[in-house]
């Protein structure tokens, strides 16, 4: 066995390891890109809904102000803080699993799900307050344009909560580790996107 042969074998092994690493990196990038493309389609959906509201709002600002005064800003502001906090909890969960801490991941993703669920609950409270002021989806043009984007967003939050609980369950069964957490990153992209959409909706529908 010559030194040259041994070097040859080592080079072969290094090449194989590199190829495997490259394949894994490519797989992760492909999964992330797939999620970003999905989110791009979501951008189109929400842009249409927001643009529809804006186009109507420009010529009906008085009516919008009346609704704002009737409902107040504090409940939806609290909801905004909750969703921002849920995004923070999500990314902290990812950081924990990157460090190999499954318990930390479960705690933070569980908190993400809880905050998302409270968000949806408070949104239901807000809808009931609006309904008590006579603002329903059929009552006025405002109702139609208000409920479409906010309810669509709420549906996304519900999906996110279910997804977060699924991740907590998978984590409990030991499916994730410091070397395998792409599923959590993909969920994170979705959840943060839902947060970004709310950031825009909050300004466009409630503050302007």
């Amino acid at each position: 066995m010559t030194d040259a042969s041994m070097e040859h074998i080592e080079a072969h092994a290094a090449h194989d390891a590199h190829a495997a690493a490259k394949h894994e990196a490519q797989r992760i990038d492909n999964l992330k890109f797939g999620m970003w493309v999905f989110l791009a389609s979501e951008v189109v959906l929400f842009t249409v809904l927001i643009a529809t509201f804006l186009a109507w709002r420009v010529v009906n600002s008085e009516l919008v102000h009346e609704v704002h005064e009737a409902t107040g800003i504090w409940l939806v502001s609290l909801n905004t803080f909750l969703l921002l906090a849920s995004s923070f909890a999500m990314v902290m969960g990812l950081r924990e699993i990157q460090k190999g801490n499954r318990g930390g991941l479960m705690k933070w993703i569980g908190l993400t799900a809880l905050l998302g669920a409270v968000f949806v609950g408070l949104q239901a409270v807000e809808y009931s307050i609006l309904a008590s002021h006579g603002v329903t989806i059929y009552s006025s043009e405002f109702g139609m344009r208000f409920y479409a984007p906010t309810a669509m967003h709420g549906a996304h939050v519900i999906v996110g909560v279910i997804w977060a609980l699924y991740i907590v369950n998978k984590t409990r069964r030991g499916s994730y580790s410091s070397q395998n957490y792409i599923g959590i990153e993909i969920f994170g992209l979705y959840w943060h996107f839902v947060d970004v959409v709310w950031i825009i909706l909050f300004t466009v529908i409630y503050l302007l």
């Binding site: 990196a25 890109f33 951008v43 643009a51 909050f202």
Partner: protein
């Protein structure tokens, strides 16, 4: 005895080498070529899966040259909370007008960009992800502006 053992080991290694060569012949040129690429720093792909994964955010953050004993996610959350509070204050205090609208839209865009850069890791991930999300956003904004420019007919 020791020599016999060594010979046996060598035979085993040679057999492994031969079977490996049959299964997947080594392209020495490609191995050397790859090493040259890595040596020149031209290889964009990491060497191991662990290196392919993003680095864990450190426990401290350098913000405007000052060290803060909190990771970047905590700092970003703090900024998001402060900006949101500022938005609510502006909405409540400022009278309707162009400045109010500009401030509110500007601050919400700052928040959205912060979330995408730091929480969605666009800052460190491939730029193609940013392009994938920016293109429909750009088209959507242009379409919305067109929609806003069309006079309302009371639809």
């Amino acid at each position: 005895m020791s020599d016999d053992k060594t010979m046996t080991e060598h035979a085993a290694i040679k057999a492994e080498q031969e079977s490996a060569a049959e299964a997947a012949p080594v392209d020495v040129a490609s191995v050397e070529g790859h090493e040259a690429i890595v040596a020149l720093g031209l290889d964009e792909h990491p060497q191991t899966p662990s290196e392919a994964l993003p680095h864990i955010a450190p426990d401290y953050t350098i913000l405007f040259g000052r060290r803060i004993n909190a990771n970047i996610y905590v700092v970003v959350f703090g900024i998001l909370a402060i900006v949101t509070a500022a938005e609510i204050g502006i909405a409540e205090i400022f009278p309707d007008g162009f400045v109010r609208m500009l401030l509110l839209v500007g601050l919400s865009l700052v928040k959205a960009v912060l979330v995408m850069l730091f929480y969605m890791h666009l800052r460190e991930d491939s730029k193609i992800f940013a392009v994938a999300i920016a293109l429909p956003l750009f088209v959507g904004i242009i379409s919305a502006m067109f929609l806003l420019a069309v006079p309302s007919t009371g639809y």
